[in-house]
Symmetry: C2
Subunit: 314 residues, 2 copies
């Protein structure tokens, strides 16, 4: 069994590659839920849904999130009522949020709701929320503390980030199945997601560090930074404003003590020795994923390499 | 000020005609809310919304309910999750239900939510739910008691109706503004809606009979039965199975003591003497409404006639 820790678009792409490489039933994806929020009275889980839609093969291939070909008539109706459509929600996407909210309000935990929704979409991998308990990422900026989606979507990541807070993390418990998946894992892959706001919350759930440490599997991470830039999102800007190197090394340092191996893009081969000096095995390859062929190729390459890694992280 | 009591499509059409005839600011519509129900965790108010969309000029002109030109992508998404799309909800319609549910859950009363939604759609008449308290029509049939929409939509009114129950009616209070509107009314028009399941619940709200009796306005009703058939819906079948004449007279008898005048279609002119014998003034005219010209003409005709009626109902 392979376990992937994933945020949004980048994480979802590699998770899909892993599902293709090992067969979807042999993959569990632990998804970030700290970007979940309420909008129009509905519970929205952007990262979780991006992974779900991607694994279901219905994600929008251009933007990476949302459902391919989705329309925005319901959001248009909401706009007609004078509400701000600042967060783009497609019509099919609304179906997800409506049914999830219904089930959550009926008392079902997010993990059960997610399994039901993903199953109905034909997802055969296990999609596990990092926690059933609400955790809310908040971003400290020069203009004050912002809810994550306010920072990320409404304000287009324009603010300088001075800190990241996971509200509720102290009371959160690992999602059902997460500990078991890690205990049974052959390899754990930290996907190329933002280390602060996508992977960070997953690693911060109480019990997660212990579960990773206790896992027999080698843990490897893929750099979301290539050639000094993030493939998507504010990872590079956050590395800089939070005082880290804007490089694969800067990311690798954040995972010291957690991972055994680190995957860098071939553009960044020069960083491999410094990564190795952190006590991690480096793998240099093409990490930028386009379509599904790319994703499957990268996933297979990572798994072949990681399978031979010793657990040297402690 | 004119007050209309309205159910769904037929009531909405005449309400629109009244708004055109006297100016929208001079009309208050008291709408049935006993067909409200929860679906997919959202609060759906079919009659209220039909009136709202019609007064806003955006109702589907063919089916009479829903929003003109609406698409069904969100419902398609819900269907893709394996849920039964037995109640047709359009995408723009979903926006209404989502925002209403959000506001209700935040503690706003239905009357406030309705005023906000209708106002945003440009409705200048006052749209008043009969009550802010939940009332649920249930239909006694040969196969047992059915929730109203199960009888009306899911089972297509195929069951023989043996009784009608308004669950919660005993605890319901008149909606804010309803009593005041009746006290200030020049004319009260009971629209051509189903007397059992559309007008019936409105009249059954505790305090409504007294408010109507105390109103200085003549109260007139328009027959929903023309030539032995209901223009729309199960009114004719319900009259028959509940032991009433399937005729304007059968409807007029149900309103004895409540109304001063009764409007029959010219097709049913032969019933006028029998209606008059009930102590009501009959008006015979064309009552079948097509487009807005028809609606405005009928409304103007009713108001001109009703204004000269004495209050003779007691």
């Amino acid at each position: 069994m392979i376990v992937a820790l994933a945020g949004g678009v980048g994480g979802a792409k590699l998770a899909q590659g892993l599902a293709m490489a090992v067969g979807p039933e042999n993959l569990s994806v632990v998804a970030n839920t700290a970007d979940d929020f309420d909008l129009y009275g509905l519970r929205i889980c952007p990262d979780l849904d991006t992974v779900m839609y991607t694994l279901a093969g219905i994600a929008d291939p251009v933007q990476g999130w949302g459902v391919a070909g989705d329309t925005v008539a319901t959001l248009g109706g909401i706009t007609a009522y004078g509400r701000d459509p600042w967060f783009k929600l497609g019509d099919r996407d609304f179906a997800t949020h409506i049914l999830r909210t219904e089930a959550l309000r009926a008392g079902q935990p997010l993990s059960v709701v997610t399994a039901d929704l993903a199953g109905a979409l034909g997802v055969r991998s296990r999609l596990l929320p990092m926690s059933d308990d609400p955790v809310a990422t908040q971003i400290e900026t020069l203009v004050g503390r912002l809810d994550f989606q306010a920072y990320f979507v409404a304000r287009r990541q324009q603010d300088t980030v001075t800190g990241v807070v996971f509200d509720g993390i102290g009371r959160a418990r690992l999602g059902p199945g997460v500990g078991e998946a890690l205990a049974d894992a052959e390899t754990v892959v930290v996907c190329p997601s933002n280390p602060f706001v996508s992977v960070g919350p997953i690693l911060a759930v109480p019990g997660m560090a212990q579960a990773l440490a206790a896992s027999p599997a080698p843990v490897v991470a893929v750099s979301p930074i290539v050639d000094g830039r993030a493939i998507k999102g504010p990872a590079a800007a956050m590395l800089e404003s939070l005082g880290h190197d804007v490089s694969p090394l800067g990311v690798a340092r954040l995972y010291t003590g957690v991972i055994d191996g680190f995957v860098l893009d071939e553009t960044d081969a020069g960083w491999a020795p410094a990564v190795a000096a952190l006590g991690m095995e480096p793998l240099v390859t093409r990490t930028v994923m386009g379509g599904s062929d790319d994703r499957a190729r990268l996933a297979a390459e990572i798994l072949a390499w990681a399978g031979a890694l010793s657990r040297n992280r402690r």
